[in-house]
Symmetry: C2
Subunit: 321 residues, 2 copies
């Protein structure tokens, strides 16, 4: 099986369609990586790109991408609602198949060194690749943004991991790092009362005492007329989907409401589904082996046991290759 | 309703019964505090005492207790398996009724100042009362123990919160602090396979990604012939008993085993039972008000819904007053 890595870089342009297309076109030239999506946001004035592919081509494509962006975007003329410190703001490497998080740290360091050598852009390593505790969280690095970074970077505490302590005059700085796959996951509740979704979110999220790798809140879906518990699962191996799903069902009972469905926003690694279906297969004595399971059965079982709606195989990262 | 605080001090003597009795007798002189238990451990060579009572008498009794211990115990001649840094090693204040954790921080500071003034013993404030992040965890303060504290205390980082940076020559130093009530809670599994208890413990405990205020492991009960998930609940308001109980039941299903019971080791605050029974009363539409509930009903419902075995009203802190 091939080594597969995901990357979700973003760049600081969300309005100028021609410019966005020129930047994105870098990725179509590389046969061994695949552009899964790109989502320009005009309020934020940034575009988030989702890529998967083999590690070496991914590093080369991202290097080229940084080069093109450095020619297209001058942050001195950039305004948008989302905080940013670079023309390319952040590049995470995410392990998908036959690749570890530690491998991704190495890819991050390789790309960081190359980008600095080739374009003279200062690089901060972040998340799993961080060189100090205060560099783990992206918002801590990004605080003061492009405008404040000119001074901040001179402080020895904030010298970049690669490059001299001076921002690139038009590009700024970039954070490159490695992290676990993140799953954006929402659970539908049979009520329009957002207070209930909020109470349940509090029970499960880290910030109020719940599971360590869960961020959660509430949302009201106007078109559908019900609320959701809306989540990021930051480490599905430590906090598998089924455990969150079952805990939310358990908490919902005290409000006499039921869970009517759930959804994955964006993509999910196959392994995250397998890790959760293993639970239900054990509970319900289902004699299926995950080594042999075909994709349609996987989708069918995930739909049944995790009650996923609007779900098909293209939501699974690996089936986009 | 009276203000009630719990304290669980320990002192460094677990073998000499006459000495232990002389020390313990301090508490029987105070009519407004109650000695719930004391447990000498000869291997550890320490004794843990559980007290409840009104805050002011509690502070006075503990001050007297420190005085008596300082005359009875010389740590230069003390050996035991449990790490220790003082003749009285640690004194936590725990809010039970009409008292907040913040109040308990004040009681800790009051006692710390009095003990230092009266007996010239250096005091470290710890847990909720800590004056610096590295003083929150007792093991961090205690590292290097009585023998190493002579040098450690001279380091400005480890100057005591009360007193000069010199240990008391025979007593050593003491940590005084405030913390939430801690519930020692075990759940019985219908299996003798400790691996299963361990997997479930991993799913729920903080250190492997679970709930923030749960410490958990496994234990095999030889006499009863089954395993337990054995836990400390460090904050029952953030991680209520029912949530842990239901999550363990859910996880157990994948091993085709059932939860057969549970037990509270030591004491539980009434509020911790109420907070969990509220869940079951909502789920099962039980129209009982906790304002009016009598103690026998409380015990009956806790036994039924939380499946508590060997449980009676004297396990509830408040009914010992």
């Amino acid at each position: 099986m091939a080594k597969i890595v995901e990357s979700v870089p973003n760049f600081s342009e969300g309005k100028d369609k021609a410019k966005i297309e020129r930047i994105i076109s870098v990725f179509s030239k590389h046969p061994n990586i695949k552009l899964l999506s790109y989502e320009p946001d005009s309020d934020y004035n940034r575009t988030v790109v989702t890529l998967i592919g083999e590690p070496e081509p991914m590093i080369q494509a991202l290097l080229e991408f940084i080069g093109v962006v450095s020619q297209e975007i001058d942050l001195n003329f950039h305004h948008g609602e989302h905080p940013r410190m670079g023309a390319v703001d952040v590049i995470p490497f995410v392990p998908i198949e036959e690749v570890t998080l530690k491998d991704c740290v190495e890819y991050a360091k390789r790309l960081a060194q190359l980008a600095n050598e080739k374009y003279d852009i200062p690089v901060f390593l972040y998340a799993e690749a961080a060189s100090a505790p205060e560099r783990i969280m992206l918002p801590d690095i990004r605080k003061s943004e492009f405008e404040g970074m000119k001074e901040k970077i001179k402080d020895p505490i904030w010298h970049p991991d690669y490059g001299k302590p001076e921002i690139h005059p038009t590009f700024g700085v970039v954070a490159i790092g490695a992290r676990h796959p993140l799953i954006a996951y929402n659970i539908d509740l049979d009520t329009a009362d957002e207070k209930i979704a909020n109470s349940i979110a509090k029970a499960i999220r880290k910030s109020s005492g719940g599971f360590q790798y869960i961020q959660a809140g509430s949302a009201y879906l106007e078109k559908r007329g019900h609320v959701q518990v809306t989540m990021n699962i930051l480490d599905y191996k430590k906090n598998p989907i089924y455990r969150i799903f079952e805990t939310v069902k358990m908490e919902a009972k005290r409000y006499q409401i039921t869970v009517t469905g759930a959804e994955i926003v964006g993509l999910v690694p196959k392994d995250a589904l397998v890790k959760s279906l293993e639970y239900y297969f054990s509970v319900f004595f289902i004699p299926l082996s995950f080594k042999e399971i075909d994709v349609d059965t996987l989708v069918e079982k995930a739909t049944k046991y995790l009650m996923l709606r609007d779900f098909d195989k293209y939501k699974i990262i690996e089936f986009n290759l």
